[in-house]
C-alpha cells in the first residue's frame, strides 16, 4: 500500500468530525459518571429537581459527595420535551401539507420560487428571534385571545379545560413557536416530492374524472407518504433539541407536570440553559454532573429520532420507484 500524504491529511481532517462527535459523547458520559451512580433510575422517573442545601456540608451517598437533600429527577423535562414537540408536530403537519400542496399545484410557476423561498426563510430565522417575537407578540395573543377561545370551544376535552388560561407563557406557546419553526422542514421536503410525481400518474387520475383536489389528495399524496413521514421525523428531531425559543416562551416549570395545554413547561434543552447559574453554586458539582446526564439523555433521544428519519430520507427516490 502506497502512502499518499495528500489523501491522508485530508482523511485526518475528515476524521475530526467523528472524533468531535465521539468526544462529545465520551466527555459527557465520563463527566456524568458520578451522577449515574448517585441518581440511578430515579433520574428518569423522578419529578423533583432539588439542588439540596448548597451551604451546608455535603454528605456522601452511594460513594459520591452530594449536597444534603439533593434530588435530581428529570421526568418533568422529558415529558415537557416530548409533549411540546408532539403538539408542535400536530400543528405543523396540516400546515405544511397545505402549504406544500398549494405551492405545488395552485401557485403559478412564476411565483413559486419566491413563495417557496419565503417558506424556507422561516426556517433560517434564528431561534432567539422567534423567542423574541413569541414574547412580544404570540404570548400576549395567546393570553388574551387564543387561550380563552380554546378554553371556550374545546373546554369539554380534559387537556383544554381550565378556567384560568394563564399568562400565555406555557405549553401552548412553546408548541406554537416550535410548530412554526419546523413547518418549513416538512413543507419543503414534501414540496420537492410532490414536484417529482410523474405526469402520467396525475393525468391518469384526471382522466378518471377526479377533481384537481382529488388528484392531489387521492393520487399524489399516497405516493409521497414515505417522504412525508421522513420530513416529519426530521422536523421532530429539530423540535426536540430546540432551545432558545422554547426557553423564552415556555414559562419554565420545575417539579410540576403540565396538567393542561396552558401550563408552564420546561424542555430538557431549555432547562439546561436556565440552570447554569444555580448549578454553578453547587460545591460538589453534582448538579453540573446531573445536567451532563440530562444532556446525554437529550442526545440519545435526538439520535434515535434522526436515525429513524434516515430510514425515510431516500424519500424522493421512493417517488421515482413508485412509478
Amino acid at each position: 500500500m502506497v502512502f499518499r500524504p495528500f489523501r491522508t491529511s485530508l482523511l485526518v481532517l475528515a476524521l475530526l468530525i467523528p472524533a468531535a462527535l465521539g468526544a462529545v459523547v465520551l466527555f459527557l458520559a465520563i463527566y456524568a459518571g458520578d451522577a449515574f451512580t448517585f441518581n440511578g433510575l430515579r433520574f428518569i422517573f423522578g419529578t423533583v429537581w432539588d439542588l439540596g442545601n448548597l451551604y451546608g456540608n455535603p454528605v456522601t451517598v452511594r460513594g459520591v459527595s452530594v449536597p444534603l437533600g439533593a434530588h435530581y429527577g428529570v421526568l418533568v423535562f422529558i415529558i415537557g420535551t416530548l409533549l411540546s414537540s408532539f403538539i408542535a408536530i400536530l400543528i405543523a403537519l396540516p400546515l405544511s401539507v397545505g402549504c406544500a400542496i398549494f405551492l405545488a399545484e395552485q401557485v403559478p410557476e412564476k411565483f413559486r420560487p419566491v413563495l417557496a423561498m419565503l417558506v424556507e426563510l422561516v426556517a433560517v430565522v434564528p431561534s432567539v428571534v422567534f423567542g423574541l417575537w413569541g414574547v412580544a407578540v404570540l404570548v400576549p395573543f395567546i393570553a388574551k385571545d387564543i387561550g380563552p377561545a380554546l378554553s371556550a370551544t374545546l373546554g369539554f376535552l380534559p387537556f383544554f379545560a381550565g378556567g384560568d388560561t394563564g399568562s400565555g407563557y406555557g405549553l401552548l406557546a412553546a408548541s406554537m413557536v416550535l410548530a412554526l419553526m419546523i413547518t418549513p422542514i416538512i413543507a419543503t421536503t414534501l414540496l420537492d416530492a410532490l414536484l417529482q410525481v410523474p405526469r402520467e400518474n396525475r393525468e391518469a387520475a384526471f382522466a378518471l374524472g377526479a377533481t384537481h383536489f382529488e388528484v392531489v389528495s387521492k393520487a399524489m399524496m399516497p405516493m409521497v407518504r414515505t417522504t412525508l413521514v421522513g420530513g416529519v421525523v426530521l422536523a421532530l428531531g429539530r423540535a426536540l433539541g430546540e432551545t432558545m425559543a422554547v426557553l423564552m416562551v415556555s414559562g419554565g416549570a420545575i417539579n410540576i407536570l403540565p396538567h393542561n395545554i396552558y401550563s408552564p413547561v420546561s424542555t430538557i434543552a431549555s432547562f439546561i440553559v436556565s440552570q447554569l447559574d444555580s448549578a454553578e453554586q453547587d460545591p460538589t458539582n453534582m448538579a453540573i454532573k446531573s445536567l451532563a446526564e440530562i444532556a446525554l439523555v437529550l442526545f440519545v433521544i435526538t439520535l434515535a429520532v434522526n436515525a429513524g428519519a434516515r430510514l425515510f430520507t431516500t424519500g424522493v427516490a421512493n417517488v421515482r420507484n413508485a412509478k
Binding site: 499518499r4 495528500f6 489523501r7 485530508l10 482523511l11 481532517l13 475528515a14 468530525i17 467523528p18 468531535a20 462527535l21 462529545v24 466527555f27 459527557l28 396540516p94 400546515l95 397545505g98 402549504c99 400542496i101 398549494f102 395552485q106 413563495l115 423561498m117 419565503l118 424556507e120 426563510l121 422561516v122 433560517v124 430565522v125 434564528p126 431561534s127 432567539v128 428571534v129 423567542g131 423574541l132 417575537w133 412580544a136 407578540v137 412554526l180 418549513p184 377533481t211 384537481h212 383536489f213 382529488e214 426536540l240 433539541g241 432551545t243 432558545m244 423564552m248 439546561i272 440553559v273 447554569l276 445536567l291 444532556a295 437529550l298 439520535l303 429520532v305 434522526n306 436515525a307 434516515r310
Partner: protein, 289 residues
C-alpha cells in the same frame, strides 16, 4: 346560472365533491398564509421596534447595565463568528474534499453518517460539552476560544456536506484532463476542482456564517457575557454577543433594555436574512445558464 339549464342537474354526490375540493383548496391557501404571515410579522415587528432604537450611539458605545449601546456585542459577534470560521473552514472544506474525491468507500459513508449525527445533535448539548471540557476542565473560563470552537463544531458538518456536494458537480473529465497533463492529486484538487466548485463552497461558508451569527444556546455556556469591548485575550475573558442581548434583555423591566433587545434582533435578522436571500438569488440565477 344559465349554464345549469343546459347541463343535467348535479347530483348530491357531485356537489359534495366540488364543495370538498373548494374547501380543501381554501384550507391549503390558509395554511400558506399561516406560515408566511408570521414570518412577515416577525420581520415587521422586529424591524419597526428595532429601527426606533437605532441611533449612532447604538454602534459607538458599549452596553451599560441594561442601557447604552451594542458596540461590544456587535464586535463580539463578529469575533466569535470569524473565529468559528477560522477553525471550521479548513476542517469542513478538507473533510468535504475527502468525502467527494476519495470518500466513495465504506469509511467515507461512515464519516458521512456520523457527520449527519453531529448535525442533528442539539446545539445545547454541544454547548454543555464545551462548558465541561473547555470552560471548566481546561480552565479557559468563558472565552472567545471556547465560544468559537463550539460554534465551529456546530458548523463543520454543514461545511463538509455543502463542499462535498459542490465538488461532486465538477465533471470527471476535468479531473482526468488534469491528470493527463501530469498533475498530481493536490494540483488537481486545488487548481482545478476547488476553483470550479468555489461558488458552492463560498455559499456553504456564508450559510455557516449565518448559522453562527444567529446561534445563542451554546454561547451562553461558553462565551459568557461582557459589558466591555473584547480585551484581546483568547481565554479567561468573557465576551458579549448580539443574541445574548436578545434573550436576556427582553426579560428586563426597563424600556431601554427592550429597545436594545429589538435592535440586536434586527441586526442579527438582517445579517441572517441577507445572507440566505442573497445566496438563494445567486444560486437560482446561475441555474438556467
Amino acid at each position: 346560472m344559465s349554464a345549469t339549464l343546459n347541463r343535467p342537474r348535479r347530483t348530491g354526490h357531485e356537489r359534495r365533491r366540488t364543495l370538498s375540493a373548494a374547501l380543501g383548496w381554501a384550507a391549503c391557501a390558509l395554511a400558506l398564509v399561516l406560515v408566511i404571515g408570521p414570518l412577515l410579522d416577525i420581520v415587521y415587528v422586529v424591524a419597526a421596534r428595532g429601527l426606533s432604537a437605532f441611533s449612532i450611539g447604538l454602534f459607538t458605545t458599549v452596553t451599560n447595565g441594561t442601557g447604552g449601546g451594542l458596540l461590544n456585542a456587535i464586535t463580539g459577534t463578529i469575533i466569535l463568528s470569524l473565529g468559528a470560521l477560522v477553525v471550521a473552514v479548513p476542517v469542513g472544506v478538507g473533510a468535504g474534499i475527502y468525502l467527494s474525491e476519495y470518500g466513495t468507500n465504506r469509511l467515507g459513508s461512515g464519516i458521512r453518517f456520523l457527520s449527519d449525527v453531529l448535525t442533528g445533535t442539539p446545539s445545547i448539548v454541544l454547548g454543555y460539552f464545551s462548558y465541561i471540557v473547555f470552560v471548566t476542565w481546561l480552565g479557559w473560563d468563558f472565552s472567545v476560544l471556547a465560544g468559537s470552537i463550539t460554534l465551529a463544531i456546530l458548523i463543520v458538518p454543514y461545511l463538509a456536506r455543502i463542499t462535498e456536494l459542490a465538488l461532486r458537480q465538477v465533471p470527471n473529465n476535468m479531473r482526468e484532463a488534469g491528470f493527463a497533463l501530469g498533475a498530481r492529486e493536490p494540483t488537481v484538487v486545488f487548481k482545478i476542482v476547488l476553483p470550479m466548485a468555489a461558488p458552492g463552497v463560498i455559499t456553504g461558508i456564508l450559510l455557516a456564517l449565518a448559522i453562527s451569527v444567529g446561534e445563542t444556546a451554546p454561547l451562553i455556556y461558553t462565551a459568557g457575557w461582557s459589558n466591555y469591548q473584547w480585551n484581546g485575550h483568547l481565554t479567561n475573558s468573557p465576551i458579549g454577543y448580539l443574541t445574548y442581548v436578545i434573550w436576556s434583555f427582553i426579560n428586563e423591566p426597563s424600556d431601554s433594555a427592550h429597545a436594545l433587545a429589538f435592535a440586536a434582533a434586527l441586526i442579527v435578522m438582517l445579517v441572517v436574512l441577507a445572507i440566505n436571500i442573497g445566496v438563494r438569488l445567486v444560486v437560482r440565477r446561475k441555474k438556467p445558464g
